[in-house]
Point group: C2
Chain length 779, copies 2
Amino acid sequence: MALVSWVMDYTIAFCQQAQKWMYGGLDSNMLLQYLAWVTYPVVLITFSAGFTQILAPQAVGSGIPEMKTILRGVVLKEYLTFKTFVAKVIGLTCALGSGMPLGKEGPFVHVASLCAALLSKFMALFGGIYMNELRNTEMLSAACAVGVGCCFAAPIGGVLFSIEVTSTFFAVRNYWRGFFAATFSAFIFRVLAVWNQDEETITALFKTRFRLDFPFDLQELPAFAVLGIASGFAGALFVYLNRLIVESMRKQKTINKFLLKKRLVYPALVTLLVSTLTFPPGFGQFMAGQLTQHESLVALFDNRTWYKQGVSEDFDYLSQPQAWNHPHVSVFITLLLFIVMKFWMSAVATTMPVPCGAFMPVFLIGAAFGRLVGESMAAVFPDGIHADGTVYPIVPGGYAVVGAAALSGAVTHTVSTAVIVFELTGQISHILPVMIAVILANAVAQSLQPSLYDSIIRIQKLPYLPELGWGQEKYNIRVEDIMVRDVSHITLTSSYRELQEALMSGQLKTLALVESSDSMILLGSIERSQLQCLIAQQLGRSRRLEYLRERAQDNGTHLPTLSQDTPPKSGRGVRFLVSTMALERGSEFSLRVDFQCLCCAPPYVSHYIQFTHFFQITATFCLCCLFFFWKSNAGSMTPKRRRPKRVRITMAIAEWEEHQLDEPVNFNNCKIDPAPFQLVERTSLHKTHTIFSLLGLDHTYVTSTGRLVGVVSLKELRKAIEGSVTVTGVKVRPPLASFRDSGTSTSVSEVTELHKLWNRHRSMSLPREPNPDSMETCV
Amino acid sequence: MALVSWVMDYTIAFCQQAQKWMYGGLDSNMLLQYLAWVTYPVVLITFSAGFTQILAPQAVGSGIPEMKTILRGVVLKEYLTFKTFVAKVIGLTCALGSGMPLGKEGPFVHVASLCAALLSKFMALFGGIYMNELRNTEMLSAACAVGVGCCFAAPIGGVLFSIEVTSTFFAVRNYWRGFFAATFSAFIFRVLAVWNQDEETITALFKTRFRLDFPFDLQELPAFAVLGIASGFAGALFVYLNRLIVESMRKQKTINKFLLKKRLVYPALVTLLVSTLTFPPGFGQFMAGQLTQHESLVALFDNRTWYKQGVSEDFDYLSQPQAWNHPHVSVFITLLLFIVMKFWMSAVATTMPVPCGAFMPVFLIGAAFGRLVGESMAAVFPDGIHADGTVYPIVPGGYAVVGAAALSGAVTHTVSTAVIVFELTGQISHILPVMIAVILANAVAQSLQPSLYDSIIRIQKLPYLPELGWGQEKYNIRVEDIMVRDVSHITLTSSYRELQEALMSGQLKTLALVESSDSMILLGSIERSQLQCLIAQQLGRSRRLEYLRERAQDNGTHLPTLSQDTPPKSGRGVRFLVSTMALERGSEFSLRVDFQCLCCAPPYVSHYIQFTHFFQITATFCLCCLFFFWKSNAGSMTPKRRRPKRVRITMAIAEWEEHQLDEPVNFNNCKIDPAPFQLVERTSLHKTHTIFSLLGLDHTYVTSTGRLVGVVSLKELRKAIEGSVTVTGVKVRPPLASFRDSGTSTSVSEVTELHKLWNRHRSMSLPREPNPDSMETCV
């Protein structure tokens, strides 16, 4: 991953240099210059969007929401394929090379996870520990840390950020692994820079040089706190704006239709708009348009004060701050314009269908905002605030660091951005202002909006479990209020028909197996695919052929010869050929039914083909071909004459099927999970949520003394949580909760139920003295 | 907590200054000087040990192992009382003030937790959210972070360290709270220093001044790696040494007996030995004996090289490095002696029965070890390693930082010590060497020894669940191999006698309630105390009196008059007086039985005493006294004459009791948990461990299709884990696991069991065609 990251960074830097070179070379003609400045990113972004669209549309966007969902236990397999990896890496390189306000972090988490998943798959070929599913989750968890770690050379921040962003409950044993992986990726990432002679030794990515002896004054803390609170509001606004853009485009049906048809128009238009506005000789001159993200950040973290423009000799050895120093406009205006323009540009740009993240643009805006506050402070207190003799001027660069951490923390709802800035800048002297600002920003942003990643999860409708809010409701709502009582189940005595109906009705991955419909005692759960396999076996070709053979033996047709030549195994092997041929020729109903039944057979039957049976297969195939050719030919040429016989066969097969479906299911070769997760009716919503989050469940059965009474899936849980705790803070009780008082009534009803059981047993056993009711009164 | 920490630091510094002042003032007489140097710490430590012993023996030691156990869900209530708080704070201050190699961190985690627990209790008086048990755990979790955070002014490191040390699974929602609390405690802690004019502004506790532009050479990394690996071995050795000392003292029975009798002798002896060895004019001159921990650490983190002793002008403005610079002995010898002596001294000192931690001494030794390696590197490469022109000399202080993080990481098995050193030194420039060294140290130490805290948990035999090791065993062992099959249970039709027997047999906090002994269907679990209450009610005084009254009405004795005068409530109120009197006089069997029965009545009955019944009580008491005095007097004086009557009453009561015990239990007023946690027999050890850790369980029932078949408690689980993964790496399979092959046989047995059920149902239902066995063969 470090190598990927470094190569990507190198390519991106090359792309951006190429754009600058073109722009610089054409300085004789403004129009040509403009065209070069604009066309270059438009081409790159369009290519990125098109390439991703064609190869793997799953590679679009950040990837963190998807990883959060996957680590939650939901299988999104198409997100972890090699195609997605290629699409993401190339798409991301092009998108970032265009110089648009896009980030690398989120997609990099996805790329690292892809890498881990592919590595797991590869290692699983050799067997051993990698075969285990649990191990894969651990790998993915470490991969997320690596993604952030080698993107910013921030191993600790990477681990913490990935934990905060992707997990609800974190196994501390994975922590060590994350650190290990992230440290080595960050190390290799920085060593590559040293080997490439970019750096003399391993240092931070955006090294700052603030003074160590007096980093900030205690009296500056209120300013840092205000910066944190303002960042919190700005972060919430960013998330809201981002969602608003997506949703408004979805609602506008004509726009939506057009954009769905011409998928490349939207990114091209957005890129055109953004690059036009940043065109350096145009509006760009007021917002440091010619700087790349990296250059801007280095400039913003500069340890000198820009406001004192008279001291020009300070500005000579670094060219970046010059870009902010417009001859006619104050640095405050430049910064303000930069913040405002980049804010909406980033919000719009991150909605483009290319692989891109929002962390870095937000980080940059935060740094600019911090710098603005810092420069203002420096303007108000030109000699610093400290009263005791020594002059310690204010360091606006410190404010930029604080602002960057606070705004990115607010948007992502994390506090580990604080650690990331320390690792990015290589200085930890501003730890307390950063921590205070980040915590305040989080407090404000979390109370206003979900995090950017949760917002994307909601927009994309990924199956994710929201967090429980504050309040007591979660303890008063119980599973019985939210569970689905009509559980699609099968019993030990179910017929295949009932099985088929149960398969049609439910949506869950598994079906409950109960002892009988009366007792409803839960025995286990069976996967849907297993049951489909059972039906396929029951109505499969071999049994059908056998039936036909038997029937033919009675009626004296020539079918037996064919069937006797067909051993069950090889018969299965060729059935697709036969069926396909039959379908191609538009053959009769009975054959099509046969095909359908065979299609729902599980894929593993193809394993039955053995090469020792090769000759048998060949012979069977020829016979089959001849037979079906004759049969369908005859059918198509003389439909009316042959129909009575075909109808007779069809009818017979339909009858046979009906008969087969009425048979009881044979569960002998069926994998049954004897321990599906169970809750009881009185489990509180809070406990249910905790268990679902902890164990990464998809659904659980609700049982009462062993009897299946309901099922709760993620969907119900999500509804219950979102019903009880809405974003705006209005709390709604679920419909059934109002029928019940909490507290004493519960124990009464519990006692009543047990009393019933008890009475039942008492009535069965011998009558005893004394009467329990009188005992109760005298106690 | 910040205030407590600051005041404690202030007092400790004052104590240490006082010792220095005494020592300095007596420089005319070496013997007096020695006596002053030695007596002072002996007195302080003895006071600390004695004070703790008298007030709250739970305050002894680090506290982190206990917190780990408490956060695991085990209730150790006596560890969270106000007495313990006072004992810990005062004991710790004295212990640290003595200048012994003891730490503040571990106890501070305990103190913070005590503070949180007391605060929770106080807030619970006002009701609301603090009433919830879960909230308390969250408070404790944040408190641990605060403890470390305000001890080192390291909020981020504090949060991470507390997570690593105390949790197995961590709820990310607590993370934010920990950060919030730790940041503000660290902030206040440092602000107090500013207000006290100790510092100009908020900076790190052990501020370093390493150069920023070239912190270390890439080619120094192997040296850092070696330092990390060596620290790993040293850390494991420290843990081993610490345990060896405790265990060898326990084994030596005579020593053990003596020390148990004279508890203050051991700490006094240890202190005497340690302070004698550090006496500055004596052996202490070779190991910088006059420096306190704080001074030593500041000196070790110094950014200059000590080896170049010629450049003496560098040494003038800081006096601490002078202590290391013995006129006749090389700085290498001084450092080596310091490391070796402090190593065993710390290991011994932390076994003293005073509130003390081991983190800081280990940290100091690590720093000295790092400094030693650094100085050696500086001696070997006097002009640095870098080849390209510029001379970048090696910074031994950087090695000290790396060594401190690596050794403390190895001893505690944490990687967050890396973050702690960054926050302590205020510089993050050595991030990669620190991370690499810490990870390598952890890898070595974790494979050799448990962490210091786990080691203490094992020594103290606290009920804690060990971590699962590597390997496949954990997937092959199942709950059925480790569960206790003979579960003490009660049924709905149980008699009180069976209840009593069940209560006698089991050790768990709850008893299982099943439908009947045949069906064994689990209905719920009942707490032990509830059941004791049930029995007490059944055989309680009021019912006994009622029986006697009824009996007396039949026989015409004078008991009824007494009973009529005694209303049930007040009768309960006086029963202990009566019983005690009876016991004092060595009275008869029947009375003793009565006393026993009354004793097992729950304590809440004493609440029934109401002051409105005062007169009734007084009257009853007088009557009772008279009656029993007459009765017991008569009994003692004329035993043989009175016995027939007493025996008759006794017999009658015994008979009545027998009869009462045979009655079925009335569960009406009993709180039943309808959802005790259940596993199935096939749950793997790995899953069981995960569920126990995640949910903080004490025991779970094992059920098979609703029937109770066994129970697994922490004890069984611990045995299974320790049996399969021993410390030395030898893996033993549990006895039952060898009787079973993993893989296919499982599904076969599953199928067989279900087949049985299925056949049972088929035999009950109508016979169907065709035969399923023939179906099976033809599929």
